[in-house]
């Protein structure tokens, strides 16, 4: 059984402790001893150049990858892909990618319902949640559209709905607006912040866009696999 740790920091929902990660048998070091804490309800932006380890850090928090050294703690429980990955992915963490990563042959609604199918959530509850999220994201009139017929912004909003379907407490977003034009990017990001705030979700987002990053509660600067600076946004 997983026992919660860090009881003195109850509100810390994401914690990385001395995380190291390398690829190609250690020849490419990506994370070099990362320590990070994200508190409940915060919106935190991870900034830094390509290859600095932002995505890798997000993958480790989602349990999609394993660190060489160090610990990842989500909601007070150490992430162990062999033991608690499904619980993490189904109920605790939602993930939004730079490329929407939707299944093209399914409709918008079917894509959004995938996490509920995985978690075995009953149809009635799932449909109600789908209606709620698509209304809030302005997609309710596109429910039966196939993904190919959606615009880039609509696709990313669909991905956002899918990530929040099972009411996770944490949203991990890897360059969520990176593939969109400036205007669409701004509107999707505004929607992201609005949803995160209204749902009480903790956001950890990797981004290149410093303007967007500065609108988060906290900005974390990464460089060469290390965290260089933590700053509160204005």
């Amino acid at each position: 059984m997983n026992t919660p740790i860090f009881t003195k920091h109850r509100d810390v929902v994401l914690r990385a402790e001395n995380l190291w990660k390398s690829y190609d048998h250690g020849t490419i070091a990506v994370l070099k001893g990362v320590d990070l804490e994200v508190r409940a309800g915060q919106a935190v932006a991870l900034c830094g150049p390509s290859g600095c380890g932002k995505s890798t850090l997000l993958h480790l928090f989602a349990g999609l990858d394993e660190s060489d050294k160090g610990r990842v703690i989500v909601n007070g429980v150490e992430v162990n892909p062999q033991r608690n990955l499904l619980r993490l992915l189904r109920y605790e963490v939602g993930f939004v990618f730079q490329l929407h990563n939707l299944i093209p042959d399914l409709t918008l609604a079917e894509n959004c319902l995938i996490p509920t199918v995985a978690a075995g959530i009953d149809r009635h509850t799932a449909q109600a949640r789908l209606r709620e999220l698509t209304e809030r994201t302005g997609l309710s009139h596109r429910l039966n559209q196939r993904i190919q017929k959606l615009s880039g912004g609509e696709r990313q909003r669909t991905a956002l709905c899918r990530a929040l379907m099972n009411r996770p407490g944490i949203l991990l977003a890897d360059e969520p607006t990176g593939s969109l034009d400036e205007q669409t990017s701004a509107s999707v990001f505004a929607l992201l912040l609005e949803l995160v705030a209204s749902e009480g979700v903790t956001l950890l987002m990797a981004t290149h866009d410093r303007k967007l990053a500065e609108r988060c509660d906290q900005l974390v600067e990464m460089h060469d696999g290390r965290i260089h600076e933590l700053a509160l946004s204005q």
């Binding site: 989602a62 999609l64 990563n101 299944i103 399914l106 995938i114 996490p115 995985a118 149809r123 099972n166």
Partner: protein, 370 residues
């Protein structure tokens, strides 16, 4: 519903590939069904010859084929006199040839035999059977393919016979056979003083075990078997059945390889999608189930199509005049069940490796896959 839709969507993406897999299973199932049913029908007909109006059959112990069995005439006389026996009919089986027809089944029977009594006589007088040694009665189909009719003389093997009748039976072997008197057959096949088998009708079916033990006690070289028992144990039937199932199994194996190929390609081309499902909480079991589900759909659709094709083939064969009486298109429910289960198992076995591969996909690596 979405899980099912995922399965169907995946199959629909590469329709031609899916259809080829379905066709592979379908033709395998059709081949298995056709071969097994035809052979079962043939076995049933051969068994029908033996069990005509009888409950048991007596023949020489340890012979590999009934054509080689020799039952002495003395045994017929003794067994006929036993109180539980209603009648005992000696029968000589033989294979003869005629010009253009290398195999004709020949039956040497007594005038009292049920084959002569129960058949529909299309021509000739039943009462005339067995009066002369060179008289024969032909099955309807034999008369057709030999091109003779009542009153004609027909060369069979090393002799020429006088056709005194044509009869029709539901059994293909009998309908394509030649009937002669027991004595004539014994002489023709050099089996004087013996017959191939004795078919036994008992006064009471309850006496069958007593009858068998009496045969064993009185005639150590003979064996008595109930008809059903004979059908199960006769080595020729076993070989035929095994061959039919083996041929069918080979067909299904090829179909299974087709499914395996389709599913492997299907999994390899959607690694990224599998990773997406994984990131969204799909377990290994759910992913494996999805792949196996796709295979099960292919197998079931293939099996259903194969059954349809097989039934059509059987009915078409039934219409061929040369095969009339040899094909029984009635499919035994057990054969149907076994064929469907085998097709399903084959499909699932074919998808096993792709399913395991899908279960082992590492999401983070697969999401980098373009």
């Amino acid at each position: 519903m979405i899980f099912l839709k995922l399965i169907l969507t995946n199959l629909g993406r590469h329709r031609i590939r899916t259809l080829i897999s379905i066709a592979g299973i379908a033709f395998s199932v059709a081949a298995m069904l056709t071969v097994v049913t035809i052979l079962q029908g043939a076995i049933g007909m051969f068994a029908g010859i033996l069990s005509s109006d009888s409950q048991a059959i007596v023949f020489e112990r340890d012979v590999s084929d009934l054509f080689f069995s020799n039952v002495p005439s003395a045994a017929v006389e003794t067994i006929s006199a036993w109180p539980m026996v209603a009648h005992a009919d000696p029968v000589v089986f033989g294979i003869v040839s005629s010009a253009g027809h290398p195999i004709i089944t020949c039956f040497g029977v007594t005038p009292a035999d049920a084959r002569i009594h129960k058949a529909t006589w299309l021509a000739g007088d039943r009462a005339a059977f067995g009066l002369k040694a060179d008289d024969v009665v032909l099955g309807e189909r034999a008369a057709q393919f030999l091109g003779v009719n009542i009153g004609d003389r027909v060369p069979i093997g090393h002799a020429t016979f006088h056709v005194i009748g044509v009869l029709k039976t539901a059994n293909g072997f009998e309908d394509g056979g030649v009937f002669m008197s027991l004595g004539a057959a014994q002489s023709f096949f050099h089996k004087e003083g013996s017959s191939s088998v004795i078919t036994i009708k008992l006064k009471s079916k309850g006496d069958v075990n007593l009858f068998k033990s009496m045969v064993k006690g009185n005639f150590p070289n003979l064996i008595a078997l109930e008809d059903a028992e004979f059908n199960r144990s006769y080595s020729q039937f076993k070989i035929l059945k095994a061959t039919a199932w083996a041929v069918g199994a080979c067909g299904l194996l090829l179909g299974g390889l087709g499914v395996a190929n389709t599913m492997i390609m299907s999994v390899f081309t959607r690694i990224r999608e599998i990773a997406i499902l994984r990131v969204n909480g799909f377990s290994h079991v759910q992913l494996g189930g999805m792949i196996l589900g796709e295979s099960a759909v292919v197998s079931l659709v293939g099996a259903a199509s194969g059954l349809l094709i097989g039934i059509c083939i059987l009915f078409a064969l039934k219409q061929v005049p040369a095969l009339d009486g040899y094909i029984d298109p009635a499919i035994h429910p057990l054969i149907l069940l076994v064929v469907i289960l085998l097709a399903l198992l084959t499909g699932i076995a074919g998808a096993f490796y792709p399913a395991v591969y899908a279960m082992r996909v590492r999401a983070v690596e697969a999401l980098r896959f373009e």
